[in-house]
Amino acid sequence: MIQSIDYVAIGAPLALASAAGLVLLLDVFLPRRTPGALGLVALAGVLVAGGLVAAQAAGGGERRTFCVPASGAGPGDGCSFVVDGFTLVLSGLVLGAGVVVVLLSMTELAERRIPPGEWYFLLLCALTGAVLLPAARDLATLVVALELVSLPVFALTALKRYDGRASEAALKLFLVSVVSTAVMLFGVSLLYGLTGTLHLDRLSAALSAVPGASGVVAVAVVLVLAGFAFKVAAVPFHFWAGDVYQGAPVPVAALLSVVSKAAGFAGLILILTTGLREQAALWGPVIAVVSALTMTAGNVLALRQRAALRLLAWSSVAQSGYILAPLAVVGGNAFAASVAYLVIYAAMNLGAFAVVMPVSRTAARNELDDYRGLASRRPVAAVALAFFLVCLAGLPPGLAGLFAKVVVFRQIVEGGLGWLAVVMAVNTVIGLYYYISWTARLFAPAPSGPGRVPAAPMPVSASVAVGLAVLVTLAFSVAPQLVLSASG
């Protein structure tokens, strides 16, 4: 039988996918390669999708489509695609991040060394997957959407073909990601084999009903968790982060650290809180330990970094640990704290990348020492970067980061995970060191060596990206209830 499709529900991914196809066609049929025009088309696509998400949020209610009629398979109506509050918040996050990444891409592509059509096509494909993922409510859709996020990113990383480090990064990312997908598919196939259902809302009850299979269930759960741990760069699957962030073009690193990570967490939250809800006793402790190890490893590794992008890579690993922490609280609505942290983290981290981007064009190695005296060369950019770093550290002027941390602390303390709260507090202090030492470099006097390049004017698109990130982070600092109520 033909399924009826709710085109309003799938509007956002549809708009992105159409924009991707349009960009590809324009690239091959337009007479001259025009990175600017293609960038504007891509930007328009992301904005239209964002408008659709905003309209759905304003309209309220919940939309379901691709439903399988209820049968003997169990409770739940078996819909594969659901647009609810969770979906809208994460789609909004992804699309907001998409706007910033497209703006940064315009700066990156202005050098005309990277083919623009392919770049924007792949970027829009990855965004399509990331918008699709929070709406996915069955295991097959989830895996396909997650791959749609991952696959274009390898190619995006490798598009900087003149740079050997980019190829190395792409290969590492490819191998790690493919292995993680394989591991996750093992877990997914075990879950399907045990229950005979792919729909998340039917999975949990069906798993509880399987007699004497707790061993297999545990293996399946751990395999699925391992797959997602790769995607969000959680310990022990975090090694790829440093090399890949440094080798990839800066907009792709931003995409990896925000969009890809948000997609990974969306999938993780969906599987844990819907599909494996009644198996929480099994995965709760695992998540708690992984979270503690991730934040510690990320922060300790970040302490020794001299390159800006490597520092951001390990700092984003540490932030993954903070986002994981509320998920370890079994039951209740604790995952809302993760979503809130994710949204605020996205804004401040994208801001940091947006400032690092133009600096990376004048300083090839992009080391922390290249930021010395940035305050005298580019005062606005320096103040913006300082603001984002202070936010990431969670210090008072950057209230957004502080609120995010407080929300997470409250959830894990209320959830009875006191030891995790202590680990997180210690880690926050470790994090202060490297964020603040970078901030201090911004305002230190510039080294007066020869060959110092005078600061070129900031490219317009990068300035707009920084401005957007500053506005959003400021809004979250002044009115954190925007995020907290939406994600709760």
Partner: protein
Amino acid sequence: MSGYFGSYLVVAILLGTGLAIVAGALLVNRLLRPHRPTPEKLLTYECGVDPVGEGWAQSQVRYYVFTYLYVVFAVDAVFLFPWATVFAAPGFGVTTLVEMFVFLIFIALGILYAWRKRVLTWT
């Protein structure tokens, strides 16, 4: 013919028939054709290519792109076959037909791209 091993008799007969057909075809060939060997004719070959060199063979990198395009359409066919069995059944109709063509258009984007990027010309 009945009994447990009876069904294996069918397999044996089929095997024998197959051997007889192949051997018969080769035999008839041998009887009918003239026999004038030259060194080139006696050379072993595989798909028209001389088996020269080592087991580690290099091939044109351009084949890679063609393989890629082939895979696009092979995947296509995987979806087309089950569709072809049902689209005429009652309850499907025009919507199903249109949906498949929407899918084909998306796949065709790939070939369009390859054509415009001059992948399809050999030189």
